[in-house]
């Protein structure tokens, strides 16, 4: 494992039934990096991300999160240890998954209050600050259904931030949003990147990958076929698969 990496993945493999989705995946993430994970659909980008936070179980390989093994050579720690290790990470989903029966404020303070036993007043105070940061300070009494998709996704990011994560995982955070709403979410993510939050972003937003990411992982059916700066990936793609993918996107 590499010294100083907050996430190290080695030999990660995963199948759903007979379909092999991930085959021998290796990569490292360093503190403060923003990593864009791009590539065609159906090659396991989301599955890879979900393995990191224990929403999917890997069949083989190792995942090291901030010096602790979540899984080592295919063997998982007990559920409690896994939960502790994963508590350093937050996740933002494509379809937000806000709790629809709770107000925005309750969406934010529930986990600090019930998981971390933080007192309500302090959680509320932090919620105010974080809501201001995502530009939604005036919506804390709203129900999620009263918000636009972009607003919901910003609340989802705020909810993840409430747990003070070391690392944030984004699983296609803007894929279900129209272009206008995408931008408000991307600008929050850009701000987080500037604050040196460690982020892994599975995305089809090539603009974001190009401008904001420190590094781009290109995933194809053969695994991670490129792990390089956005400049190299987008301007000098060496691999024909990447070249074709980039060209097809430019054509759009």
């Amino acid at each position: 494992m590499v010294e100083g990496a907050v996430i190290s993945v080695r030999g990660l493999s995963k199948s759903f039934g007979k379909t092999k989705v991930l085959n021998n995946i290796n990569f490292d993430v360093y503190k403060g990096e923003t990593i864009a994970i791009i590539g065609p659909s159906g090659v396991g980008k989301s599955t890879m991300l979900r393995c990191l936070i224990n929403l999917e179980k890997a069949d083989a390989g190792s995942i090291l999160i901030d010096g602790e093994y979540l899984v080592r050579d295919g063997h998982y720690e007990n559920e409690r240890t896994c939960r502790k290790i994963c508590s350093q990470m937050g996740m933002v989903f494509q379809s937000f998954h806000l709790f629809p029966h709770l107000t925005v404020l309750d969406n934010l303070i529930y986990a600090p209050k019930y998981v971390n036993r933080e007192d309500e007043a302090s959680a509320k105070k932090r919620a105010d600050e974080i809501l201001r940061k995502v530009g939604l300070a005036d919506r804390k009494e709203s129900m999620p259904s009263q918000l636009s998709g972009g607003q919901q996704q910003r609340i989802a990011i705020a909810r993840a931030l409430m747990m003070n994560p070391e690392i944030l995982l984004f699983d296609e955070p803007t894929s279900s949003l129209d272009p206008l709403l995408k931008n408000e979410v991307l600008s929050v993510m850009r701000q987080l990147a500037e604050e040196k939050m460690t982020m892994l972003v599975v995305t089809h937003e090539m603009g974001f990958a190009k401008e904001v990411a420190d590094r781009v992982l290109f995933v194809s059916e053969d695994g991670i076929i490129a792990d390089d700066s956005p400049d190299k990936i987008f301007n000098l793609p060496s691999n024909p698969i990447i070249k074709e993918f980039i060209c097809s996107i430019k054509a759009v």
């Binding site: 996740m91 989903f93 029966h101």
Partner: protein, 214 residues
Amino acid sequence: MNFSYLVSIFGQLSDGLKFTVGLFFVTIIFSVPLGLVLSFIRVGSHKIIQRILGGYIWLMRGTPLILQLYFFYYGLSLVTSIQLSRFNAAIVAFILNYAAYFCEIFRGGLLGVSKGQYEAAKVLGFSTLQTNVRIVIPQMLRITLPSVANEFITLVKDTSLITVLAIDEILNLAKKIVNTDVNISAYAVVAVYYLIATFLLTKLFEYLEKKFAY
């Protein structure tokens, strides 16, 4: 027939309310939590318990409630040494019958809570119990509220079935008055009782649906 006669019947029928209302509340108080617990088992993965639970639900939904009343009052003492009183037999039959229906309603509600809710709760660190109590059950109850309202209203009227065990609930009293007075207006008065009860429940559930709308 005059108005004061109807009012006097209304008064006489109120003697039966303790059975009608009592059966209603006891059934609700026990069958809703029981149905809730069973619904979680039903969506679980334990094969043998699943089978047993499936059999129980089939039996309860597959036979008339009247037959179940007969069984718990007349039949149970033949196969065991337990002889329940008339009202206790009614309570047992109603709780077991209604729990089966509530189990199925809640199961439907649980399936209506999206997988994403469980995942969001998990990545935030909620335990399974916290996820169920704080996230899943509130949403499930909201989803099932209209069906639950339906069951409550059906239960109000089903309480009249215990007439077959010669319990003096309001319908049985009405029947006796009809026979004694040779006048069927007691049936109209008993209908008013049921209509009042179902009206109140309808309003209650309308309020709840509005209050917990999201």
